[in-house]
């Protein structure tokens, strides 16, 4: 397995995959952090406010990172038709796993980078008080979990379909539904069942009392309860997508 992982790293040379990932993360950071931080409410509740606002940006950028990275890793082989050769050297399942581990660990690393930059940014901009580390760790775990589900799903699609337009369209349309689901409080099932909606489903910081006339005058932030079913669904999806993708890939004819 170590050998296979090293092969994956070798194949990534000259492909700038990690650089691509960093670029997407950077774009996500710019999008997340670009804004006006001068208001009194925001200054005072900055740390919690970020936790309230970020899931939307995460729901756009991390799905796209998963999509791009999984597709690029799989496409290297599709384009060179080298699966034929790989299959004579190694078990299909292990190839599937090696690629998954490479891509998933890189993507999760970028989540970690994103998260660290957030903390540094909050310090620089001087949000009031110390960051509530417990909440931030919870946020990190939630974002990582949602990203892992998506990566495993996208990895499966990219490996199964030679035409990468398939995985791109699935990812784009899924992300689209996911982003929308965050604006639809009346449809909680949508974001709880669609893998792209987990960023919203796992959001635990809520903003209350905000109105378009009074703005933040009576607003306050409060921790919301997250339906425990979501955690179960995520766990089931991780196992399901992994098992199904690997099963189909092993059965695929080349």
């Amino acid at each position: 397995m170590i050998k296979l992982l090293r092969c994956e790293l070798l194949k990534m040379r000259h492909k700038y995959i990690f650089l691509t990932l960093l670029a997407i993360t950077a774009a996500g950071l710019v999008f997340s952090l670009y804004g006006d931080y001068s208001g009194e409410f925001i200054q005072k509740n900055g740390w919690c406010m970020m936790l309230y606002q970020l899931p939307l940006a995460n729901g756009i950028f991390f799905p796209i990172a998963c999509l791009v990275i999984s597709s690029r890793l799989a496409d290297t082989e599709h384009k060179a038709s080298s699966y034929k050769q790989l299959f004579t050297l190694e078990k299909r399942g292990r190839i599937y796993d090696a690629k998954l581990m490479t891509g998933l660990s890189m993507t999760l690393l970028s989540v970690l980078i994103y998260w660290s930059v957030l903390l540094v940014f909050g310090k620089i901009i001087r949000f009031y008080g110390e960051p509530p580390m417990e909440l931030y760790l919870r946020y990190l775990a939630c974002t990582a979990a949602a990203t892992a589900v998506l990566y495993i799903l996208q990895h499966g699609i990219s490996m199964l379909f030679k035409n990468q337009a398939v995985s791109f369209f699935t990812g784009a349309i899924g992300t689209f539904i996911g982003v929308f689901s965050m604006f639809l409080p009346q449809l909680p099932l949508l974001r709880q069942l669609i893998p792209w909606g987990f960023y919203g489903a796992l959001q635990f910081m809520g903003l209350y009392g905000w109105t378009s006339e009074e703005r933040y005058a009576n607003a306050y932030l409060k921790i919301m309860s997250v339906d425990p079913a979501v955690y179960v669904i995520i766990a089931v999806y991780i196992i399901l997508f992994y098992a199904l993708g690997k099963y189909l890939f092993c059965r695929k004819e080349t």
Binding site: V68, F176, F180, L184
Partner: protein
């Protein structure tokens, strides 16, 4: 000649179900945007205009740019695989026309999806029993201008996809482009930045105001960009060595 090339381009795309995405994608905001509209009906009081915003806000900033990026990458990908450039570039036709034919093929799909977005707006408005008069002329202008701005985006994306052999990278660039478009719009430069022209033309943010710069300047800017990028694309294709 150009007509023949366009017909040839359409044949190349036969049996690639890529176009389905252009049909499926607008349904998402149509359904979910309408639900959101109904949920917030007390704040959203501009009838058709509010509904239009709900339908197109994410579409024009993020998702249509990505779909255009994918489509352009796919068109170029067909040539890049299986040595097809060799054959395509030894056809006795000007290389600039090959580029133009591809651009028109992509634009056709953009136009279809814009019209579809407009049709979906009318359908969902009728379903929820919108009583105000249908602003037919406005919808037509949004869709047409959106297509024109989309064509600018497609011409840039085709050039990028022509040079970058990876499939994913140009699409990432189109997403970044869409975000840059958002930034330029926020800075009131939406009418001159190639990647914001589509969102600017679709007016999803403020459908009731017509374009501040006026119709004619918008069209002129779009056409100038399209001409510029087409010439660049044709020239670059001419210089392409295999």
């Amino acid at each position: 000649m150009l007509l023949r090339l366009i017909r040839a381009e359409r044949m190349k795309l036969k049996r690639s179900p890529v176009w389905i995405a252009f049909i499926l994608m607008p349904i998402v905001p149509a359904v979910l945007g309408t639900i959101n509209y109904l949920g917030n009906i007390e704040i959203l009081d501009s009838e058709w205009y509010s509904l239009w915003t709900q339908h197109t806000i994410f579409t024009s900033y993020f998702f249509l740019p990505i779909i255009i990026g994918i489509y352009c990458a796919y068109i170029m990908r067909l040539e890049q695989s299986n040595h097809n450039w060799n054959k395509t570039l030894t056809m006795p036709v000007p290389k600039s026309e090959i580029f133009l034919a591809k651009l028109i093929t992509a634009t056709f799909m953009i136009l279809i999806s814009e019209i579809w977005i407009g049709v979906l707006l009318v359908i969902s408005g009728k379903i929820i029993g919108m009583t105000a008069a249908l602003p037919f002329k406005d919808i037509m202008i949004w869709c047409l201008f959106g297509s024109l701005g989309g064509m600018v985006m497609a011409s840039v994306q085709l050039i990028i996809s022509m040079f970058i052999k990876s499939f994913a990278l140009p699409i990432g660039i189109s997403l970044a482009g869409g975000i840059s478009g958002l930034v330029f719009l926020a800075k009131n430069l939406g009418h001159i930045w190639p990647y914001s022209l589509m969102a600017y033309g679709m007016r999803s943010n403020s459908p009731q105001q017509m374009i501040e710069s006026g119709y004619l300047p918008y069209v002129i800017i779009c056409i100038t960009y399209i001409a510029l990028f087409s010439i660049a694309g044709g020239t670059l294709m001419n210089r392409k060595e295999l």
